[in-house]
C-alpha cells in the first residue's frame, strides 16, 4: 500500500543555502518530475495517438513532413522541413543562417496554406516570422559522421554498431528550441490553461520528441533512397537508443536568473518531492526493488556517458565510485529506521560527492510516482502576479530580509578583482547573452542585471545609511538604481529558492552549472561540457517512439535498462519486473 502523503508529518525541505549553491545545482540529474518524463506520462495517460499524414522528402533529402499528435481535446501538427545543407554552413552555435532540418509545432491540424506559409519562414528561423498559431520553432543539424554511417549501414542491409552509436547518442542535435512568443509565436499565456500544457515547456518537449521521431524516419528514408533493394530499417532497440542532441551555450544561462519565481517553483517541487519520500515511514518491497533496479540502471548508464571535458570526466569518475559505494551498502542497514528513505538520503549526504548526492535524490524519487508525480504539473509560475513591490515596508524590514536571505552575498568584496572579473552583456552582433572580462573588454557600462550578489550588497550598503523607518517606496524614489534588486529581495522572502546563492560575476563562475541545472529539469542526460560555457546533452534517449507509446512503459527510459540486478536487501521482491511504472 502506498502511504497517503497528506497523512504524513511534513518533513522539512532542504534549505536554500544548501540547495542553491551553483556547484550543487550544476550536479543535478533528471528526475521523474523532469519535463520530458512528465510529457510522456501525460501523453500515455490520455491515450494520445500519432500519425504522419504528409511525407514529401526527395532523394536529396529535401522536403517536408508533418506529424499529428492527437489528444482528447486537441491536435498539434509538427511540421518538419529537411534541407540539403552545404557543410560549410553547419554550425553548432545558436547563431547560424541555415540548418539541415527546421521545425515548427503548429496548434491544430495544419492546412496546405499554412505549410506553404511556414515553408517561407521556418527554414529562416530568426529571420522569419510565425503567427500565434505556432507554439514552437526549432532546428537541428546532423551529427555528420554518425548520420552518414547509419545511412550507409542501413542501405547495405546492416544495423549500425551499438557502441559506435553510444559514443554520440543521437543523429541530430538541435541548436535552439524556441517557444513562448518568440518570433511572433503564441505567448504561453495563450495555451497555459490546457491540460496537456500544465507545467513548463510542455509544447517544447513534445516538439523535441517528435523531432526525434522525424530524424529516425528520415535516416531510414535516406538509406532506402540510397539502396532501395537492400536497405533495412533500424532495429527497434537500436532505434530507441537514439535521442536528440542539443547544444546549448551562454544564451540559456541567464534564464534561471531572469525567472526567479519559476526557478523557485522548479526547485521547490523537487525539494518537496524529496521531503515527501524522506517522510515515508517504511520501505515496501516493490518500491525497494524499483529503487535498486534504477540504481543499477543509473550505474550502468555511466558507461554511456562520454565527455572530453576534464572536469566533467572527473565528476563522472567520482559518481561511478559513489554509485559503487551505494550499491555495496546493504539496504538492510536502513530498514530499522523510522524513516528508512531519509536514512539513505542522510547516509548519502555524508558519504557521496555532490553528483552522487543529487543522483541519489533522483533515485529516491524514482519508485514514488504516486506520492510525487502531482508536483510535475505545478512547476509553472506566474511571474506577472508577483512583480509588484510593496513600498509600504520599511528600510529596516528590507535590511533584515537581506541579512536573512542574502548573507551569501553581503560579505564579498566586489571591488576585489577576482570577485567581479566578469560582466554579462548582450552582443550587438549576435543579440545573445555573453560573458565579458571586465578588465580586458569594453562594454561593462552596458552590463546586464545578472550580478545579483554584488547588487544586493550595494542595496544593503545604501539601506544601512538610510533611516530605518523610511518606507521602501520613498527609498526607491531616491534610489531607482536599486529597484530591480528590491523587487527580488521581496520575492525571495516569499520564494526562498528564487535566488542562486553564488557570485555570478566572480572568477570561480562556471556558467555550465547554470545550463546543467536547467537542462536537468528538462530531463536531459549525458551532459558533455564543450567548455566552461557550452554543453551538449541528449534528450529522450531510450524513450518509446510515438508508435510504441501505447504498448510500452512510458516512464522507465531515463536510464538504459539492464538485466535485473542481484537484490541485496533481505526482502526479495515478489513481483515481476520491479521497474514497471506505477503512475
Amino acid at each position: 500500500m502506498k502511504q497517503h502523503v497528506d497523512s504524513l508529518k511534513p518533513f522539512p525541505l532542504r534549505p536554500a543555502h544548501q540547495v542553491m549553491k551553483l556547484d550543487r545545482l550544476g550536479a543535478f540529474h533528471q528526475t521523474r518530475l523532469s519535463f520530458m518524463r512528465a510529457v510522456m506520462r501525460r501523453l500515455k495517460r490520455d491515450s494520445w495517438t500519432f500519425e504522419c499524414p504528409i511525407w514529401r522528402i526527395n532523394e536529396k533529402g529535401e522536403g517536408v513532413a508533418v506529424y499529428l499528435a492527437k489528444g482528447p481535446k486537441r491536435t498539434y501538427s509538427m511540421v518538419c522541413f529537411a534541407h540539403d545543407l552545404d557543410p560549410a554552413q553547419r554550425s553548432d552555435r545558436v547563431i547560424a543562417e541555415a540548418w539541415d532540418t527546421t521545425f515548427a509545432l503548429h496548434d491544430g491540424v495544419i492546412s496546405e496554406e499554412d505549410i506553404e506559409r511556414l515553408s517561407h519562414n521556418v527554414p529562416k528561423q530568426e529571420a522569419g516570422r510565425c503567427l500565434d498559431s505556432e507554439l514552437v520553432l526549432s532546428r537541428a543539424n546532423k551529427s555528420v559522421r554518425l548520420f552518414e554511417y547509419v545511412v550507409d549501414r542501413l542501405a547495405s542491409g546492416e544495423q549500425p554498431d551499438q557502441e559506435t552509436l553510444d559514443k554520440v547518442g543521437y543523429l541530430m542535435r538541435t541548436t535552439a528550441v524556441y517557444g513562448n512568443g518568440k518570433l511572433g509565436m503564441a505567448d504561453r499565456d495563450r495555451i497555459s490553461d490546457r491540460e496537456e500544457m500544465l507545467g513548463p515547456f510542455r509544447a517544447e518537449m513534445l516538439a523535441v520528441w517528435l523531432i526525434r521521431t522525424f530524424v529516425s524516419d528520415y535516416v531510414e528514408q535516406m538509406a532506402k533512397y540510397r539502396s532501395p533493394e537492400t536497405a533495412v530499417k533500424l532495429d527497434p532497440e537500436i532505434r530507441r537508443s537514439l535521442g536528440v542532441g542539443n547544444s546549448t551555450g551562454l544564451g540559456m544561462a541567464p534564464f534561471l536568473v531572469n525567472h526567479p519565481i519559476l526557478l523557485h517553483s522548479w526547485i521547490h517541487a523537487r525539494e518537496t518531492a524529496l521531503a515527501r519520500v524522506r517522510a515515508l515511514p517504511d520501505m515496501n518491497m516493490v518500491d525497494l526493488a524499483h529503487y535498486e533496479k534504477h540504481l543499477e540502471c543509473a550505474f550502468q548508464s555511466l558507461e554511456r556517458w562520454h565527455t572530453d571535458d576534464e572536469r566533467q570526466t572527473g565528476k563522472v569518475e567520482k559518481l561511478k565510485a559513489d554509485l559503487e559505494k551505494l550499491r555495496a551498502k546493504p539496504l538492510d542497514d536502513f530498514l530499522g529506521f523510522d524513516q528508512p528513505w531519509d536514512a539513505i538520503y542522510r547516509w548519502g549526504e555524508a558519504e557521496l560527492s555532490l553528483e552522487g548526492q543529487e543522483i541519489l535524490v533522483s533515485l529516491l524519487l524514482e519508485p514514488h510516482g504516486t506520492e510525487i508525480d502531482d508536483l510535475a504539473s505545478v512547476m509553472y509560475a506566474e511571474e506577472n502576479d508577483n512583480f509588484r513591490i510593496d513600498g509600504s515596508l520599511c528600510v529596516s524590514d528590507m535590511l533584515s530580509t537581506l541579512e536573512e536571505h542574502y548573507a551569501w552575498a553581503l560579505d564579498v568584496d566586489y571591488n576585489a578583482h577576482p570577485n567581479s572579473v566578469y560582466f554579462w552583456y548582450v552582443s550587438e552582433e549576435k543579440l545573445e547573452p555573453r560573458l565579458g572580462s571586465r578588465a580586458d573588454e569594453p562594454g561593462s557600462d552596458l552590463e546586464q542585471p545578472l550580478s545579483i550578489g554584488r547588487d544586493a550588497a550595494r542595496l544593503y550598503q545604501d539601506l544601512t545609511i538610510s533611516k530605518p523607518e523610511e518606507t521602501v517606496g520613498s527609498f526607491l524614489l531616491r534610489h531607482p538604481e536599486h529597484r530591480l534588486l528590491a523587487r527580488r529581495v521581496q520575492l525571495t522572502q516569499r520564494y526562498p529558492y528564487a535566488e542562486i546563492h553564488d557570485n555570478l560575476i566572480g572568477e570561480d563562475l562556471l556558467p555550465v552549472d547554470l545550463l546543467r541545472c536547467k537542462l536537468s529539469f528538462f530531463g536531459a542526460t549525458r551532459f558533455d561540457p564543450r567548455s566552461d560555457r557550452w554543453v551538449r546533452i541528449t534528450m529522450f534517449q531510450n524513450a518509446p517512439y510515438p508508435h510504441e507509446l501505447s504498448s510500452m512503459n512510458e516512464d522507465d527510459w531515463a536510464y538504459p535498462l539492464v538485466e535485473p540486478p542481484e537484490f541485496k536487501s533481505e526482502f526479495k521482491p515478489e513481483t515481476k519486473s520491479a521497474c514497471q511504472g506505477e503512475s
Partner: protein, 223 residues
C-alpha cells in the same frame, strides 16, 4: 503590419527603456506596462516610444516627483509616468487609505494604468485615475473606461492626473469594460524598428576577442 507576441513586446520594451536611460528596475516596469496595455488593445508601443523620445538624455532627477506630498511635480517640468506610476504603486497603501494624489504635468499618462492595475490586483482594492477627458476605474481584475475613448488613452501629454482610491464596493463602477486578450498584437514596422533602435543601445559591439571567447564555443560542428 506584422503581429508580435506579448513576450516580444515586453522584452523589447524593457530593453528600449533601459536603452533610453531608465534603470533596470524601472525598465522592467516599462516593459510590463507596455505588455499590459498591448494585451488590452490599448495604445502600447507607440506610447512608450513617445515617452522614450521625450525623456531621452534627461536626468532621472528632472523627471521624478520632487517630494511625496499631495501634489507631485517634476523639477524638469514634466513627470515621467513610469517613475510616477512606480512610486504610486510603492505608496499605493496611502491611496487606499484615502489620500488623493495629483500629478502635475505628465507625459503619456496611460503608462500609469498597468502599474496601478497590478497594485489593485495585489491589494484587492480599486483606483480611479483621471485626466483631461478621461476617467478610468481600475479594479483588481477589470478595467473600466468611464469617460473618453481608447484613442484618448494614447495622449502624449496632460497637465494633470488625479489618482484616488475606489471604495471596495465596485457596484457603482461603470464604463467600457476593457478585457485582456492574449493574441498577436499588430504593430507597424516603423514603431517596431524604432523600439529596436532604443533597445540596441543596450548591446555591446563585437570585438575579435569577444567573438572568440564570449560564447565559449568555436569548435567545429561537423563531427
Amino acid at each position: 503590419m506584422d503581429h508580435y507576441s506579448l513576450n516580444e513586446i515586453e522584452a523589447s520594451a524593457r530593453k528600449a527603456a533601459r536603452g533610453a536611460g531608465m534603470t533596470w528596475g524601472l525598465a522592467e516596469e516599462a516593459g510590463k506596462a507596455t505588455r499590459w496595455l498591448a494585451a488590452r488593445g490599448l495604445p502600447n508601443v507607440s506610447t512608450l516610444l513617445t515617452l522614450l523620445s521625450e525623456n531621452d538624455g534627461k536626468d532621472y532627477d528632472s523627471l521624478c516627483p520632487q517630494n511625496l506630498s499631495q501634489n507631485w511635480s517634476a523639477s524638469g517640468g514634466v513627470l515621467c509616468p513610469v517613475i510616477a506610476g512606480s512610486t504610486l504603486n510603492d505608496l499605493a497603501h496611502n491611496i487606499v487609505l484615502g489620500q488623493e494624489i495629483k500629478l502635475e504635468a505628465v507625459n503619456c499618462p496611460a503608462l500609469i494604468l498597468p502599474i496601478l492595475g497590478r497594485a489593485s490586483k495585489a491589494l484587492g482594492h480599486g483606483f480611479r485615475i483621471s485626466w483631461e477627458g478621461v476617467v478610468i476605474n481600475i479594479l483588481p481584475d477589470t478595467l473600466y473606461l468611464e469617460t473618453g475613448t481608447i484613442e484618448d488613452l494614447g495622449t502624449t501629454f496632460t497637465s494633470e492626473v488625479v489618482v484616488d482610491g475606489l471604495s471596495s464596493d465596485s457596484g457603482n463602477v461603470s464604463g467600457l469594460n476593457i478585457e485582456r486578450v492574449v493574441k498577436g498584437v499588430p504593430l507597424n514596422n516603423q514603431d517596431w524598428c524604432h523600439l529596436q533602435t532604443f533597445a540596441a543601445r543596450t548591446y555591446v559591439p563585437a570585438s575579435e576577442e569577444s567573438r572568440l571567447l564570449g560564447a565559449g564555443a568555436g569548435l567545429t560542428d561537423n563531427d
